[in-house]
């Protein structure tokens, strides 16, 4: 789309674009230069500040801290997917007494900030005599929140499928459970895989919230190194190391999501459902967006049939 917004530039436009390009570079270099200058002036590049990272023991501990981040992420990710399936099936139920409470639960958990849920688990529950280990105080809120979001994703995936799929499955005598398990959900998962992985990136990012409730993960370890007076309090340096690890991990997952999406896009079966995916790519797509997307999808399908 973006390439149709402007004509192929002529000589004057090329000159103008180059000037704006140079101005952009200057502004960006100015910003980066200012930060680097402040780093240099305050001695952030001095060997003393980076000295702590020359110990292999420190790197072992960084690896352990990253391991704790990944442990929380793995548990939360798997549990969230399981919960997502359960809630999605609940929301698609034919029985109002299942559908309505599940819908309410999903909406409430999507509205409460993950951090508040973590605080509730870690500081709130001990009041009534339930002591939760900090690991689970990180994992369970992540599971509940991301599970709710994933259930919406899966539901949208199921509802975006052509109606004929479900009807055909019923017609050959499958029950509701069979229709779901063998026909609808496999297709929904397939078409929604990029969104599901994108939501896992959100889960990975949100494990960093564990820092605030004292879960000893990567960021907490960065803070710990950063406050070592003997090594000149290298808090910025520790932050930079943590940032590289976090961004690397997230880019890896995002890269997988993009790769899966590209592979899926070449598959004609999923192209029909792809239209419904678009609004969900963003964090926290709402019901209304899904409905709009499906409506557009329906219209498009009718157009396709007409043509």
């Amino acid at each position: 789309m973006t390439s149709v917004l402007y004509d192929v530039p002529g000589p004057r436009a090329v000159l103008r674009n180059r000037l704006i390009g140079v101005a952009t570079i200057l502004v960006i270099l100015g910003l980066i230069g200012f930060v680097v200058y402040r780093f240099a002036v305050t001695g952030q590049f001095s060997a003393e500040k980076w000295y702590v990272f020359s110990f292999s023991a420190v790197w072992v501990q960084i690896a352990e801290a990253t391991g704790r981040t990944l442990a929380a992420f793995a548990a939360a990710g798997v549990l969230a997917i399981v919960l997502g399936f359960v809630l999605a099936i609940g929301r698609l139920s034919d029985h109002a007494w299942v559908r309505v409470p599940v819908t309410a639960v999903v909406e409430v958990f999507r509205a409460i900030p993950v951090l508040v849920l973590m605080l509730l688990m870690y500081y709130g529950l001990p009041v009534v005599g339930i002591n939760v280990e900090v690991y689970w105080a990180v994992v369970i809120p992540l599971m509940v929140y991301n599970g709710s979001v994933l259930s919406e994703v899966l539901r949208a995936g199921v509802e975006a499928l052509p109606r004929g799929q479900g009807e055909a499955a019923y017609a050959i005598g499958l029950r509701k459970s069979g229709v779901m398990a063998f026909v609808l959900l496999p297709q929904a998962v397939r078409s929604m895989l990029p969104v599901i992985i994108a939501q896992l990136v959100v889960t990975l990012k949100d494990t960093a919230l564990g820092f605030i409730i004292t879960y000893p993960e990567l960021l907490a370890f960065a803070k710990l190194i950063g406050s070592q007076g003997t090594y000149g309090r290298p808090i910025l340096q520790a932050g930079i190391v943590a940032a590289i690890i976090y961004i690397g991990l997230c880019l890896l997952l995002s890269g997988i999501a993009k790769w899966v999406e590209l592979r899926l896009r070449s598959s004609p079966r999923v192209i029909a459902a792809a239209a419904a995916v678009a609004p969900l790519q963003r964090e926290g797509g709402t019901n209304t967006q899904l409905i709009v997307a499906q409506r557009e999808d329906d219209v498009q399908r009718q157009d396709d049939q007409g043509a």
């Binding site: 789309m1 973006t2 149709v4 917004l5 402007y6 004509d7 530039p9 674009n17 704006i20 390009g21 952009t24 960006i28 930060v35 402040r38 780093f39 002036v41 305050t42 952030q44 509205a111 409460i112 900030p113 993950v114 951090l115 508040v116 849920l117 605080l119 509730l120 500081y123 709130g124 001990p126 009041v127 990136v201 990012k205 949100d206 960093a208 919230l209 820092f211 605030i212 960021l219 803070k223 950063g226 309090r233 808090i235 910025l236 932050g239 943590a242 940032a243 976090y246 961004i247 997230c250 995002s254 609004p279 963003r282 964090e283 926290g284 797509g285 709402t286 209304t288 967006q289 709009v292």
Partner: protein, 215 residues
């Protein structure tokens, strides 16, 4: 109810700080996000590259880490000290701007190609294609996802609590010192957030219905 009414000033301060973070971060995100979003669809390759790098990097950074740099890193640079509240607004704004930029970009992509082609055919330059034809149409389809971004922003304000901003996520620590029940306090915080998010969702639906495009 005593938890709220015996400590009204604390709750008032917490809610007002949450709202300051929300609106401050929101305005900053809108301004910066529009610039980055425009850069990502502009005819200037360098601007596109800068926008892409910024969006991809920040979207793959945990918000907590962004706050970490502003709360602990910024004071190391020997620049004039700012209230944590302002640093929080800056962190939230920089983080949310990437989402705003992506929403705007995909909003522009929802406008049928023929619109831009027709505008170019009658001789409009890039600025007028965008200003008179594409953006007014994109704006309508952008409103619902933009509201979702703001709902996420509202929930993200709680992260500031971990960095000594006296807002709703922080209130438990203050109230515990006064001997209040942490569970009840946190449940009220959750209720307030659910109410605020419901309010924003209602606004989202209203705006969506009002500005729906008949296509």
């Amino acid at each position: 109810m005593g938890v709220i009414f015996n400590h009204l000033p604390i709750w008032g301060e917490a809610i007002s700080n949450t709202l300051i973070l929300f609106f401050g971060g929101g305005v900053l995100a809108l301004i910066l996000g529009t610039i980055v979003g425009a850069a990502r669809v502009s005819p200037i390759p360098i601007a596109r590259a800068v926008g892409t790098v910024y969006v991809n990097t920040v979207r793959n950074t945990p918000l907590t880490l962004v706050f970490f740099f502003f709360a602990f890193g910024y004071p190391q640079l020997g620049l004039p000290a700012f209230n944590f509240l302002y640093l929080g607004i800056l962190a939230l704004g920089l983080y949310t701007a990437t989402y705003v930029a992506e929403v705007l970009r995909s909003g522009i992509n929802t406008v049928p190609v023929g619109q831009a082609e027709a505008a170019r055919a009658i001789g409009l330059p890039f600025s007028q294609v965008m200003g008179y034809v594409v953006l007014p149409q994109a704006f309508r389809s952008v409103v619902p996802p933009l509201m979702s971004v703001f709902i996420a922003l509202l929930k993200n304000t709680t992260v500031a609590a971990g960095f000594s901003v006296a807002e709703l996520g922080r209130i438990r620590a203050v109230m515990s010192e006064r001997g209040e029940n942490a569970l009840v306090v946190l449940l009220w915080v959750a209720v307030i957030f659910v109410a605020l998010v419901l309010l924003l969702s209602w606004l989202q639906r209203t705006l969506e219905n009002r500005w729906r495009i008949a296509r």
